[in-house]
């Protein structure tokens, strides 16, 4: 009986958020920097290519891949946040705040400087970077003295500043035109993507999403505590490393494609938890769809707000996310 109620809830959540995501994607491909009216763009969507080939190219070859990329990245980062929050039992955990994003950023920059291709070269170095930071993080916070949950966050902040310094070091020894690319990439840049690359990212992320959804009940139990979860039949030795590995893979894949974009994994899980409650079996699909929607909107703002050129999407997410982090921190202190 309870199972069917749950299924119903999941179904309704998915339907509601899918509609929202579809609407945001539609809006995302209808609006852009050229200021072509939404009406004309809508007309072009429904008519054939011959009517307005220029607009057709803009919509399907420039905006569409980009909007899809934003949706995938938003979904992956929100899921990353959700998993870390459950694993560490800390509402403030998030791949960017913990330094995982910057760690894979170092890996990615090394890959870019070595002249590797975006995939699999840079993706692999980014993944290696994120695994190394993850290990470092756990090594640092696993001592007896610092078992409090905030110690991990503090370690994360330090890992983040160390990574930032290392990235600055790499930038300062770079002397050529790649510098501009790296700087834009560092701010979280979604432009210059084609459908093929989006396909590769989707092929990496979709199995991760599926696996994480399968683990969602274990995440519920982990929230109660590791010992408790173990006594309720969760094999901690397998589940925890698996979750960490999958999340690192997701985060490093998004980082290698569009740079470290922060705070998405903080904003979305919180918002969705407020709306849909704490059950991860509902939250996991909600994060995938809702995170995608959020990122598509952030990217839309980044594309349309500036008069000249565009802003990196990471600027928008940080401007929304960082104040929220402080609010949450104040609340959790009470």
């Amino acid at each position: 009986m309870e199972r069917s109620v749950l299924l119903k809830r999941i179904l309704w959540t998915v339907i509601l958020l899918s509609v929202l995501l579809a609407a945001s994607i539609l809006l995302g491909i209808l609006m852009g920097s050229t200021g072509i009216g939404i009406k004309r763009a809508l007309l072009s969507l429904t008519s054939s290519r011959e009517n307005d080939p220029m607009l057709h190219t803009i919509i399907w070859q420039i905006r569409f891949p980009r909007v899809l990329l934003a949706a995938l990245v938003g979904a992956a980062l929100s899921m990353g946040g959700l998993v870390f929050q459950a694993l560490l039992r800390n509402p403030l955990a998030e791949p960017y705040i913990l330094g995982i994003s910057s760690g894979s950023g170092i890996g990615a920059i090394i890959g870019i400087l070595a002249g590797l291709s975006r995939f699999p070269g840079v993706s692999f170095t980014a993944f290696a970077g994120s695994i190394v930071t993850l290990l470092l993080l756990f090594l640092m916070s696993s001592g007896k003295a610092i078992l409090k949950s905030n110690s991990l966050l503090l370690s994360g902040v330090m890992v983040n500043s160390f990574c930032a310094a290392f990235i600055m070091f790499l930038i300062s020894i770079t002397q050529d035109a790649r510098l501009h690319n790296i700087i834009f990439w560092l701010m979280g840049d979604l432009s210059m993507i084609n459908l093929g690359q989006v396909g590769i990212l989707a092929a990496i992320l979709t199995p991760c999403f599926f696996l994480l959804f399968c683990f969602s009940n274990q995440m519920n139990l982990l929230l109660v505590g590791k010992e408790m979860a173990q006594s309720m039949g969760v094999n901690i030795r397998i589940v925890v490393p698996m979750l960490l590995l999958i999340t690192s893979l997701m985060v490093s894949a998004t980082v290698s494609f569009c740079g470290p974009i922060g705070f998405v994994g903080l904003v979305m899980p919180h918002l969705l938890r407020l709306i849909f409650g704490p059950d991860h079996r509902v939250l996991a699909p909600a994060c995938i769809l809702g995170g995608g929607t959020y990122m598509v909107f952030c990217d839309l703002l980044a594309r349309t707000v500036p008069d000249q050129g565009e802003m990196p999407a990471g600027v928008i997410t940080a401007m929304i996310g960082a104040p929220l982090f402080i609010i949450l921190l104040k609340r959790s202190g009470r």
């Binding site: 920097s33 905006r63 690319n181 084609n194």
Partner: protein, 324 residues
């Protein structure tokens, strides 16, 4: 509709006659054939084009008579204006400010961070990019969108002249291009012959921007200009844009200190005062610290010869009084 057809016929005729006059004989028969076909079909969408190899070594299909060019760097915009072909230009990049009319054209973002959507919206029949300036990703993306993109690589004076000739050919401004290059060549030779009379080659430090201390190494056109103007570039070496500390500059002891910057007036005075502290540098002691317009020195355009002349008058003021 008839007007459109008429203009299309007129256009065909124009290209045909031009081909005939310039005796482009190897393509004449082909042109004739195409002209005949398009006269009968009267299709305005038919664009004639030629396979070319650009300065990047890529094969590009360049339209015979490009009418909607988007320039992807300020230097390319300047060259097109210098060739008097600005009517073909439909889009430029941010900071395309020379000549002043250029900034009135629609902008497609800065040359390192281009806005693809704006480029496509201008419906270009040709984009012209630079190999060193524009990210290669943009070139690849435009290729994928089937927009012809001609890449230039004007990294020294000789190649700049080649680029001008090359763009002149595409825009049917061969004569104008030749005239510009001849004028450049003449002025470069004048500087060269005057420099021969110089008793010595002063040591020059060329600073790019106000901070940090970055200079230009041997593989740059700045080095070439300094050498041609009769100076010795103290930051010569394999690194294109080496960084320095104040200490290192004191040791290098340049006779002439040139700062290329957008700074003018008060800001310039402040930079000079900062350097005035270092009395041990000969350039400071002898009051030979100059600020020059960075746009003049950074952009590979015909104006680079103006930069050369300016540099020569700074390095050898006695020799070049006549040039002023």
């Amino acid at each position: 509709m008839t007007i459109l057809h008429l203009s299309s016929i007129a256009h065909c005729l124009f290209v045909f006659v031009r081909r005939f006059i310039f005796r482009d004989s190897h393509r004449l028969t082909f042109t004739f054939l195409i002209a005949f076909v398009s006269f009968s079909a009267i299709s305005p969408s038919l664009v004639w084009s030629t396979q070319m190899v650009d300065e990047f070594g890529r094969k590009v299909t360049v339209p015979d008579d490009p009418r909607r060019i988007v320039s992807l760097a300020p230097s390319i915009t300047e060259i097109i204006f210098a060739l008097n072909q600005e009517s073909r230009l439909k889009g430029v990049t941010q900071f395309s400010d020379f000549p002043a009319e250029a900034s009135k054209l629609p902008s497609v973002g800065s040359y390192v961070h281009l806005d693809l959507e704006r480029i496509v919206a201008l419906k270009p029949d040709l984009c012209i990019a630079t190999k060193d300036g524009n990210p290669i990703k943009v070139i690849k993306m435009l290729e994928a969108l089937h927009i012809p993109i001609y890449v230039v690589h004007p990294k020294n004076l000789e190649l700049i002249m080649e680029t001008i000739i090359g763009i002149g050919k595409i825009l049917h401004a061969d004569d104008r291009a030749k005239a510009i290059v001849e004028d450049m060549q003449f002025r470069v030779n004048t500087v060269k012959s005057l420099v021969l009379k110089a008793p010595h080659r002063p040591r020059v430090f060329f600073q790019i921007g106000i901070s940090p201390l970055v200079s230009a190494g041997t593989p740059t056109h700045i080095h070439e200009l300094i050498t041609l103007a009769g100076g010795r570039n103290v930051s010569e070496g394999p690194v294109p844009y080496p960084r320095y500390s104040h200490e290192q500059i004191l040791i290098m002891a340049p006779d002439i200190f040139i700062i290329s910057s957008m700074a003018r007036g008060e800001q310039f005075a402040r930079v000079r005062d900062e350097w005035a502290r270092w009395k041990d540098i000969p350039a400071v002691k002898n009051d030979r610290v100059y600020v020059v317009d960075s746009n003049l020195f950074d952009r590979p355009t015909p104006r680079l010869v103006d930069a050369l002349e300016l540099l020569a008058t700074m390095i050898h003021p006695g020799l070049f009084e006549a040039l002023k």
